[in-house]
Amino acid sequence: MAATRLFLRASPVKCSLTGLTGGVHSSLGLTLLKLSPACTAKPQAQRRHAAHFTYHPEPAPSQYGPTQKMNLFQSVTSALDNTLAGDPTAVIFGEDVAFGGVFRCTVGLRDKYGKDRVFNTPLCEQGIVGFGIGAAAAGATAIAEIQFADYIYPAFDQIVNEAAKYRYRSGNMFDCGKLTIRSPWGCVGHGSIYHSQCPEAFFTHCPGIKIVVPRGPVQAKGLLLSCIADQNPCIFFEPKILYRAAVEQVPTEAYQIPLSQAEVLQEGSDLTLVAWGTQVHVLKEVAAMAQEKLGVSCELIDLRTILPWDTETVCKSVVKTGRLLISHEAPVTGGFAAEISSTVQVRVRWEIKAFYFFYVTDFKL
């Protein structure tokens, strides 16, 4: 395997097979595992790991006006505040949004804009999204909140069968493009099976909707405002572990970050790393570690929009480096990495050095 050859050439590390979890191991794998600070060689010492990455705030953007220190949930509030101020048809609804939401994303909005614009719904996800589709089709900018992405499945039919296909089946006479669905997403450490899921892969199988996952507050506000402005129904997944952990200088005015554009965070020549949401920060550390310990230069790409995804940026990068590693939190089988790797393989198969694509997931339960 080309990738294997690279690593071994750069660092002639000999390592013994210490059984970590039993099963098949390669020396390459063990080398990489040993380098990870989160890995303990002693399986008996089952240490508790909290957040396994450090969030590094990005420099404040200068082109959008004055900035203010905000964390992720505050940047979402700011985006919603800008929307409600500028668009008189905008309404926000969902479970418990009136008092501010279980993650405080809508704090203060009801007091500021009135209870007919920020209101609670009863406990009915299918009803919430169906209602949102109708409101959007009738002309309101509808921003629905699903309290946890794990609860989005009752609304799956509405999203896939109604929202995604409305424009197409009515020959462009009707659409629910003004609908945005926001939902906390991803592992948080103590969430277990029903407060940690990343369901983006289920929705990517459906043309007609857009799926966006930000990596931090500045990105979140810009991408959310783009989703709201976008004339297609959008699902905006907010990594819940970053709600408080990610703090940055975020512009107070409204601004938009374009959808379907991946961002190259770090240029490199040996390996392309692709991730979205929380995992971007893990891969930032991986890239730094690989550079320091193995002399490997990684190019890190944040996908940002999962559907429709930016194939150009990723393929261009893979042509340059020749190797691709995709990392995401959701299960491996049928996860979005499978789609990325197969598309890249088809598009650039004559130009890549390695026909080996790794997908790595965080096994979160």
Binding site: G23, G29, L32, P122, P154, S192, Y194, V360
Partner: protein, 381 residues
């Protein structure tokens, strides 16, 4: 009379024989509100001394267990999500005494009380809360996922357990075993679409299903008035007959459950019960429970309608038990909880090999990809 003499001599005589206690008494219980029913449950309930002591013990065990779980959660020995049942003990105990152990029961995530009444032990429950291998779900389920024979959990997704319960009821009807299924949900879940789908199916096919809405007035932080167009949850079944009763009175719950079980077993189809109850804790351990209701309200319910106090007062004022006897039960319960907590804290966590087991049913063992391409995990089931 001899009784008067003995009662008068109560202060003097310290040792009491069991012959001094009233073996059973009849109590008036509140009338239920009825929907599409000609008659309701009886207005009086007979309670024997043994039954009273048993209900007291079980309710006190649930109460102490939940308070211990609260303590352990604050010490970070229990982590994740924990939804406590204190205040609602009369529902779990009353329902269990109205049905047989061979009947079936399914509920949502506030399930610790039901796990106990359905045959779980405090040790197993607490070990499951702390995620150890002695737990009732082998440490893999946690607070929301506890199961015993004929108790289908323990379900995290709100409302999802109700159609499941109807399915269990169908199995009972199909197998002709005269068993019923008790299907519980809360006031928040009552607004979920699948509940109404289930009402229709259960009624159409006359399934032996008791739907029980535990109305504790708040769906997480939303009061019922703000969530439901109709707070008469017992009428929401429309074509399904319904009862509304005081869920803080264990005898009321027992009589209503017996009535409902009889209704189902006689082939009349499903029935709906609304238990008006209250939870002292917040929705979960991350909810202080006082931002959407006043402390005075909680205090008022505690002082006027606490299920354990109500039963205790009834038994004491009718001379069915002595204060010392009940105190003894308290001491025994406390000890049981302490032992269980000790076990739950010291039992080892499940082995890493258990991580991927029981995903599919598969024979031979299946390979599962782990967090990196070089780790292969095994799934045995």
């Amino acid at each position: 009379s001899v009784e008067e003499f003995l009662n008068g001599a109560r202060v003097v005589v310290s040792a009491r024989t069991y012959a001094d206690f009233t073996p059973q008494a009849t109590f008036d219980i509140k009338k239920c509100d009825l929907h599409k029913l000609e008659e309701g449950p009886p207005l009086q309930a007979v309670l024997t001394r043994e039954e009273g002591l048993q209900y007291y013990r079980t309710m006190q065990t649930i109460r102490r267990m939940e308070l211990k779980a609260d303590q352990l959660y604050k010490q970070k020995i229990i982590r994740g999500f924990c939804h406590l049942y204190d205040g609602q003990e009369a529902c779990a105990v009353g329902i269990e005494t109205g049905i047989n152990l061979s009947d079936h029961l399914i509920t949502a995530y506030r399930a610790h009380g039901y796990t106990l009444t359905r045959g779980g032990t405090v040790r197993e429950i607490m070990a499951e809360l702390t995620g150890r291998r002695g737990g009732i779900a082998k440490g893999k389920g946690g607070s929301m996922h506890m199961y015993t024979k004929h108790f289908y959990g323990g379900n995290g997704i709100v409302g999802a357990q109700v159609p499941l319960g109807a399915g269990v009821a169908l199995a009972c009807k199909y197998l002709g075993n005269n068993e019923i299924c008790v299907c519980l949900y809360g006031d928040g879940a009552a607004n979920q679409g699948q509940i109404f789908e289930t009402y229709n199916m259960a009624s159409l096919w006359k399934l032996p299903c008791i739907f029980i809405c535990e109305n504790n007035k708040y769906g997480m932080g939303t009061s019922v008035e703000r969530a439901a167009a109709s707070t008469d949850y017992y009428k929401r079944g429309d074509f399904i007959p319904g009862l509304r009763l005081d869920g803080m009175d264990v005898l009321c719950v027992r009589e209503a459950t017996k009535f409902a079980a009889e209704h189902c077993r006689s082939g009349k189809g499903p029935i709906l019960m609304e238990l008006q109850t209250y939870r002292y804790h917040g929705h979960s351990m991350s909810d202080p429970g006082v931002s959407y209701r006043t402390r005075e309200e909680i205090q008022e319910v505690r002082s006027k309608s606490d299920p354990i106090s109500m039963l205790k007062d009834r038994m004491l004022s009718n001379n069915m038990a002595s204060v010392e006897e009940l105190k003894e039960i308290d001491v025994e319960v406390r000890k049981e909880i302490e032992d269980a907590a000790q076990f739950a804290t010291t039992d080892p966590e499940p082995p890493l090999d258990d991580l991927c087991n029981h995903i599919f049913y598969n024979d031979p063992p299946m390979e599962v990809r782990g967090t990196n391409p070089w780790t292969k995990l095994k799934s045995v089931s």
